[in-house]
Symmetry: C2
Subunit: 260 residues, 2 copies
Amino acid sequence: MRTVIAPAPLIAPLLLKLKDRHALDPDEIVALEAVIGDVREVAAETVVIEADCPLDRSTLLLDGLLGRAKTLNGAGRQIVEIHVPGDFADLHSFLLKRLDSRVVALTTARVATVAHGALEDIMVAFPRLARVLWFLTTLDAALHREWEVSLGRRPALSRLAALLCELQARLTIVGLADEDRFVLRLTQAQLGDCLGLTSVHVNRTVRELRERNLAEMRRGEVRVPDLNALREAAEWTPSYLYTTMPHTFPRSPAIAGVAA
Amino acid sequence: MRTVIAPAPLIAPLLLKLKDRHALDPDEIVALEAVIGDVREVAAETVVIEADCPLDRSTLLLDGLLGRAKTLNGAGRQIVEIHVPGDFADLHSFLLKRLDSRVVALTTARVATVAHGALEDIMVAFPRLARVLWFLTTLDAALHREWEVSLGRRPALSRLAALLCELQARLTIVGLADEDRFVLRLTQAQLGDCLGLTSVHVNRTVRELRERNLAEMRRGEVRVPDLNALREAAEWTPSYLYTTMPHTFPRSPAIAGVAA
DNA sequence: CGAGAGGTTGAAACGAGTCAATCTGGGTGG
DNA sequence: CCACCCAGATTGACTCGTTTCAACCTCTCG
């Protein structure tokens, strides 16, 4: 037997996300890989899944960002969750059979189709996977709850800070963020749709975040000089992510001390 | 064999809620009834389940109202979901093992304990029930999404109207609301905690709802002269409840016509 | 080099919050 | 049986955060 450095499979981010919370057998991993159907690329601001249509498949995000959005006639759209690579955008459609919100690409994105029948099969073959998938849907609910807190109670600054904290943590889990920087190609209008703010006010809030040295957002990249400080400003903790990643980061070592 | 008019079981509301969406075999109903553990009564504003504690049971609401709440230091609490009789307050703890929010009694309430082990057993014995329970957790997520829309995008008036529409619909499913009235013993401060508003502003919004003839709230009772009008004011539809109950109500018959 | 999407800024309007006082109704104890 | 009490509801005046509207700037890409 040889140890082979396997090429990162399409579902690498999904596996990272799952392994963060559950042990997976090699069999289960193979089964998960086999479940992936068509892969396609979608452009930013494209509707990936329309609301209220009968569905017989779910969609796995491989690359880019998706958003789940609901629209009100007068008031524009509210994005109720952002999906990062490794997320199923609509795993709940396995049970609900249709979506109450539409799924929109927020950036150029690559998505894979997963037939509900195939999910059915692997859950029969690997009952533990059924629990893992159920877990994923409850994780979505936990994210929604935290967003409700943001939308209902946090002022603009900590609302944006909390969103950045969440994305930093979730992207870290799938290997797409560092403690002090990550790529985030969202427009300020899209951020506003997530935060229940106007793009104008997002702009002012981004500026304030920068002025307070909490985060810098430029050209699709977020830089966080002190993640703990950002988390404190947002009154944010990762506990609702049910992750096994460390919940706190060491304060950056005293650089002055090193120099001295 | 005799047909017995069985006394309404404790879990009558749960059964109504489930039967609204899924067919249930008599066996499955018996199994569900058997799963109920201790029943206890809790006073209003009592913590029923504390956040972040390890859990080996879930809690079923039999009577009264519960709320799931998260608290921010400066900004008070945000209630992220209201539970009506027949709801599990923390079915997701079956998978998550602890809660990210605390469960609080909003009125005097009766709750029953359901051991996770017992759930495990009935899901093995009746695999369809596993799907039903999973469905319930995805329904919670759908409620959260609609609340995000309210909190993020609806102005105070339609936000309150939407909450009333939702409660009217959910209470109707379990036999606790009429088309034009239902009991709702929440204080204006509690409503504010749900809506992301202050109690003062809830008060003004309640008045406006009354002045516009959309709803009257007094002494723990809500009267809705025209449910369709209230739903229009809130831009609300029951589609996210995934209920089989009729989604629209006939306009009240012309009473003048009857008199004539 | 032009065009367009997205970012930035200012001024004014407005919805909701804050603070504080007053009212009300239901429950309680003397 | 009634005076008292108190949580909750109500109201007014003022403040503040966010929106709105509108203009202008700055990239990036063809």
